[in-house]
């Protein structure tokens, strides 16, 4: 069957065209509808010659289609242009700031998934009890709390009032050296080098921002796990397992939880994009030097090459994650293989 063999190829072509679409939309939005970026470089008193000179240096003198072609050609070589404000290459800026966001997102999603599964399982197992009611309230709260506000309130409670967490000083307290780079994730790097004291300090810095990001992410997972688990607890195969004398915890985790885990995977994949968008808000609050903060500053100062780079980066990540997810699905779930 030619069609079946071509399907992966078609999927790649499809993903590529989505990415090209994203690139084009971003390019258009940031070039067509905007105030003239030249104004950022020359003062109000600049002469026409100075303006033209600046325009030429920025590559904005050409017609729009030519600019678009330049932009695409740059993309193919990994060149996303230079920041209007700092003059540094966008790719380099994104790469330097990536580990900070990665560290934050990794722990936040892990914590969110763990809490979500635990809450979901407990609620399903004790369905209809007081505990179920409390967990339902907690989950509704998690879905409704505005992230940035949670960040501010945690800061007030744990830093200002209780003095148990560090203030918004980024990845390390002021004046502290970062551990030597291996992976770029401070806690992991410090542990790898046996420097437990630095690892603890870095972990403390992570505490509040990670908590802020995971408050919203545990809730959708908890809901999903509960409803999937309620269904499988009522099913025939679980009843058979019970009748055969399988222990209670084994029934819960090895039998009833399993079918629901695939949908957890789907939600977790969606959380990646959600967490990246959230990092724009949360990194600002905690002075976290990641790509979210970079994007926010860039948006506020009309630094479009950076904005483009960030949007592109996030979108590509999104498309890749969904493609991977589909591959994992067909491998894990035999029903999808035909």
């Amino acid at each position: 069957m030619v069609a079946a063999r071509l399907r992966p190829l078609l999927r790649i072509v499809g993903a590529m065209s989505v990415i090209v679409g994203i690139v084009s939309v971003t390019f258009l939005v940031s070039r067509v509808f905007t105030a003239d970026p030249v104004n950022l470089f020359v003062g109000n008193s600049a002469t026409k010659e100075m303006r033209d000179q600046a325009r030429k240096e920025l590559g904005l003198a050409d017609s729009l289609p030519v600019q678009y072609l330049h932009f695409l050609r740059g993309l193919l070589t990994g060149d996303l242009g230079k920041s209007y404000l700092t003059g540094r290459p966008v790719t380099a800026d994104l790469i330097t700031r990536m580990p900070a966001t990665l560290e934050l997102g990794l722990y936040a999603i892990t914590l969110g998934v763990l809490m979500g599964v635990i809450v979901g399982v407990l609620a399903a197992v004790f369905r209809g009890s007081a505990l179920d009611g409390v967990l339902r309230l907690l989950t509704t709260a998690g879905l409704s709390l505005p992230q940035f506000w949670v960040g501010l309130m945690l800061l007030w409670l744990f830093f200002v009032t209780l003095h148990v967490a560090p203030g918004p000083s980024g990845r390390m307290p002021a004046g502290m050296e970062a551990p030597p780079t291996i992976t770029g994730l401070y806690v992991v790097d410090a542990v790898l080098q046996g420097d437990w004291a630095t690892a603890m300090i870095a972990a403390k810095q992570l505490l509040l921002p990670v908590l802020t990001l995971s408050v919203g992410s545990f809730a959708p997972i908890a809901r999903q796990v509960r409803s999937a688990m309620v269904e499988s607890l009522d099913s025939d195969y679980v009843r058979t397992a019970r009748a055969m004398g399988v222990s209670q915890t084994r029934v819960w985790f090895a039998y009833a939880l399993k079918p629901g885990l695939l949908s957890v995977l789907t939600i977790a994949a969606g959380l990646v994009g959600w967490t990246l968008a959230g990092s724009v808000l949360v990194e600002g609050i905690f002075a976290w030097p990641g790509i979210g903060q970079l994007a926010l500053t860039a948006i506020r100062s009309s630094d479009y090459p950076i904005v483009q780079g960030f949007v592109l980066y996030v979108a590509v990540l999104y498309v890749v994650i969904w493609a991977l997810l589909e591959a994992v699905y067909t491998r894990v779930d035999p029903r999808l293989r035909s």
Partner: protein, 238 residues
């Protein structure tokens, strides 16, 4: 609205139940006047999105062919954008303002509404009540909008209510970033941003109360959605 009605950064008291901010404005009255704005923006956004999404999705699902194909490709494109980021980008470019915020935020959940409406109509268009309407001489447009769409509304409304709570948070987030209606206006998000610096010096109430309102509004919409879902499915799920 009167400015400097009280002392600066006064903690909550009988005179000012929510305290005052750095300009001496009473936070309770600002929070109340912001409620009109935030609630009406949220409702306007959801109404706009649900209407456009339902019409678009049901037409695509009913008539199919190239229009349906095109619709699905557009949805894929819209889905790949990180939503809050898209909103920030467009508003940064188009400038803050009430209408801009409403249009941009309405664009974010649009793919979900289109997809829901499309799926509902596709699954029901061959049911007997639709066939019967066709047999008594209803034109296709009539079958779609007088019979199929009204019978597909429940999942759309359940989702609209969940979505409303997300919209309330997004509007707040944009205001917090200074990309909302008008920086400094009485809107919950901008009020939180005004109180951001005061957090570190201990004045929690400036950002605290407006954020609490966003939370309550969002939670209220969630409870409504749960109620709609429960009315179909007794007990069981949450």
């Amino acid at each position: 609205m009167a400015t400097n009605v009280g002392p600066i950064y006064d903690p909550p008291s009988l005179a000012h139940p929510f305290g005052t901010d750095r300009l001496g404005d009473d936070i309770l009255s600002r929070t109340m006047s912001a409620a009109t704005l935030d609630v009406s923006i949220t409702v306007a956004v959801v109404l706009l999105s649900v209407t456009v999404g339902t019409v678009w999705g049901s037409v695509a699902g009913f008539f199919g062919s190239w229009f349906d194909y095109l619709t699905m490709r557009i949805l894929e494109l819209l889905n790949a954008f990180p939503s809050l980021l898209l909103a920030m980008l467009v508003i940064a470019v188009a400038g803050p303002g009430l209408l801009n915020v409403v249009f941009v935020v309405a664009l974010l959940p649009l793919p979900d509404y289109v997809r829901l409406a499309r799926a509902e109509v596709r699954s029901k268009k061959n049911w007997q009540f639709a066939e019967a309407a066709k047999l008594v001489g209803r034109r296709p447009v009539g079958v779609l909008f007088a019979h199929l769409v009204p019978n597909s509304l429940r999942p759309l409304l359940t989702y609209a209510s969940v979505n409303a709570s997300q919209v309330a948070a997004t509007v707040g987030a944009l205001g917090f970033l200074g990309l909302g209606i008008q920086p400094g206006s009485a809107e919950w998000g901008s009020m939180i941003s005004r109180g951001q610096d005061a957090i570190l010096s201990g004045q929690w109430w400036v950002a605290g109360f407006p954020g609490l309102m966003i939370f309550l509004l969002a939670a209220a919409f969630h409870l409504i959605s749960d109620a709609i879902a429960d009315s179909r499915d007794q007990g069981g799920s949450w």
